[in-house]
Symmetry: C3
Subunit: 345 residues, 3 copies
């Protein structure tokens, strides 16, 4: 179960790393500490090379992190810039690994592979997370489950009527058509359900009169290793192509990175255009609170139960049976498997 290395991973929301407040997070089994300095945002190995104290327990001193144990200081490049003891000499080997890091679309992206290959233009864009033009509600959960199980979960939304029966489901999803479209290494899971009644809760939140039939589509864009945008739209039922018909469109972002083989970071968000005015800010704030509940109390326990059942076994080794609704998730797995294989050659 190797990880893809030469790819941009999500490491944090922009607001999670505040000036003077370093953030520790394990990514791909590696302990990382992130902090902001006047030179930007940085990611270092979270382990002093002297006595292996975690740097995140230390404090920020100017543009450097100070080790909490004996006070050595390290700048954003990972170089030791100060030994406060005796003659202050600094051994050559006193440095820590620094990871390339880019802030874009409200996300701190980290490159876990060969730094030479860290090309920022490879980062998938999330225009709907650009804080210039969007109000964004953001949250974070940690899952004791492999990140690919999380990806599968979003790529196959047929689970909504079962796992979320009392929250997001409406019992009307069974006739939805699922289509998979691949574009390079990007995989789209396109789901269309005609003549559907939304749950009362969703009708209310979408401003629809009770009992209004709609054609609803839920389209997910996946980029490796696990960054996804779900665009949900509904239009009055009956148009030839509901995606082009006038109606409502909502944006939801689901971003996953492996912490370890069997645990994952999960960042989720929803956003509304700023031209909606201050009302939009209130809406995304409320929506993210609403969404956290099913994500945390319905998805998370299921994903963690899956992981416990699977134990340390590989997904394919367990020979899952495949349904038509699995097509998008399986395609994404195949793309990622091929990229990992190519990288390991």
């Amino acid at each position: 179960m190797a990880f893809l290395r030469n790819i941009w991973y999500v490491a944090a929301w922009d607001h999670e790393v505040a000036d003077g407040r370093p953030l520790a997070r394990t990514l791909l089994n590696e302990p990382v500490v992130m902090f902001r300095s006047s030179q930007g945002v940085h990611a270092l190995t979270d382990r002093c090379p002297h006595r292996f104290a975690p740097l995140h327990l230390g404090k920020q001193v100017g543009n450097a992190l100070q080790c909490p144990y004996h006070g050595l200081e390290f700048d954003g490049s990972g170089a030791c810039t100060r030994n406060p003891h005796g003659d202050g000499s600094i051994p050559k080997a006193a440095k820590v690994k620094s990871y390339p890091m880019v802030e874009q679309d409200s996300i701190l992206w980290i490159w876990m592979g060969d730094p030479e290959k860290a090309d920022p233009t490879l980062i998938p864009r999330f225009e709907s997370l650009d804080p210039e033009n969007w109000y964004i509600g953001k949250d974070y959960l940690r899952a004791r489950a492999n990140y690919q199980l999380e990806v599968d979960n979003i790529m196959d939304l047929s689970h909504i009527d079962y796992l979320h029966a009392s929250t997001l489901g409406n019992g009307n999803g069974k006739n939805a058509e699922t289509t998979v479209v691949q574009d390079g290494n990007t995989v789209h899971s396109l789901r269309l359900n005609r003549n559907e009644l939304l749950s009362p809760e969703l009708e209310r939140r979408n401003g629809l009169p009770p009992g209004t039939p709609v054609d609803r589509w839920l389209d997910v864009r996946w980029d490796p290793p696990g960054v996804m945008e779900l665009v949900v739209g509904n239009a009055p039922t009956g148009s030839e192509d509901p995606r082009k018909a006038p109606g409502q469109i909502r944006y939801f972002q689901h971003l996953f990175s492996p912490e370890t083989e069997h645990t994952a970071h999960y960042w989720f968000a929803t956003s509304r255009r700023k031209d909606l005015g201050p009302e939009g800010e209130r809406i995304v704030a409320e929506m993210i609170v609403f969404l956290r509940q099913p994500f945390e109390t319905e998805d998370l326990p299921m994903l963690e139960a899956q992981q416990r059942t699977m134990g340390t076994a590989d997904f394919w080794e367990l020979r899952p049976i495949l349904l038509p609704t699995d097509a998008p998730g399986i395609r994404a797995r195949r793309v990622l498997d091929a990229m990992i294989k190519a990288e390991q050659k």
Copy 2:
């Protein structure tokens, strides 16, 4: 530390699996879900073959269990009977393992081996657990200890005066004679103590005037892998064969199945004949509450301490010293070892 496969194991008390309320239990390291349908009582692998969700988290729909994640349904034979999505097609491989299960003498018996060999006539009878004729008090504990340590504990009741000094013991057990009798694969531990004074608590519960000397016998019947009945009797002291003398006889059942190599399920019960009238029902209810206390707060901590001390080592590898009082327990171990060896040929 292999498990015997072709044998009936206890999986649950009858009342633990109620209609519409599936019960999950790990047996021999395998996750099992039990449920009742109009066709009887069933045991399936507790893992959906689609995405490995635990089926016990789902709900019963008619005669089937519905997977909590995407809604696939499985009947008591393990066959997938419904895919609620799209055209409803069901892949051939969509089935789960079903274990033979028999309800007899208040017990749900499960066969973990080759289903072809699952002959219900091989199940040891517990006539004293037949709810037609007996009032039965039943309870359950889980032990973080190997089930054979539990068997040893019941097969050598010389521990009563030490481990249960303040509850079941009376300090008079040291002169008891222990005899072992083998009958096929059944082993009997026969214990006789002449001229004994019971503890005040037991005198009261047995309706004996304080200070009445008795000849007490405690006979255990063991069948592989770990099902036992303890029959305790006492008669006025002095008769040639106290087991045949008129006196009181009580029945206690101790049933053990491995959950894993180092944890076990423990079902215990006591029963009184129905011809005793409603008073008998009250007595067994009170008695089972009384017994749970030493079983849970004296035996369990000791067995778990033993297991921690032994770690993952095999019992024989640790070269236990053997006392005369160990004879019945050791005989049972030898019988079981031979059966496992024969099965693995």
Copy 3:
């Protein structure tokens, strides 16, 4: 990461093992039970050879420990002295390992190696822990960290200004000179800081007027495997050899033994001469309460974080960078490594 065997380890403070109150402690991965009898203080393997019950759960009966499960009794030599069942016969193999144990300087010392080599004259003396002449404040902590990390911590007190910034530190330690002196297998870490201002707390506890500059020395004597005495002195600043100048001297003992590879026992103490009168008793009692706070809430979390960061890796394998302040701790590690290597030949 082997342990040195033929050496005296600290097993307990004298007061931790009281008559009739056995104490269990794992040392070098071995479960040990200690108890006092009329013949002295004893250490046995904490595991009955019959059914592997932990003996420390039993009770002391005269000069023997009684197994809590079936009542076998063992004396201080490890011999089984009583089987209370049947004819009372005792199998030859019914004995447990006994470890040589010596009580000296308020410490119970245990010998984990070849008993033939257990020469009490090899025990390092702690005259400042002799209860005849000293008031002694004693305490104990358990650390989820290797004992050598604990030794490093005491051998390099340059951490005080960082880890203990708000308690023991004063921010003035950076100019201290560190010297290492080796005498056989004993290593001394000598630290001298001239013209230093103590923290207000330490000024108060040392009876110094606020703002009094002193020359302070902190000298640690280390003996293998991890027993240390820290002698701290301060004298009015300016004398040629502050250690010989009239001033205050305080004694602090830091004693470490491995519980497992990654956990350690930590005994610490401070003592004042009895000629100080009853006031001295109050002072050491207060001081030990004061010291426990930084030791438990500052050192312990750091040492445990180090251990988590290191995982199961060997210290040298991680290629720590070395600063001049590491010299004493590294010297102690080299001495111990050489002793272990010699023992394993």
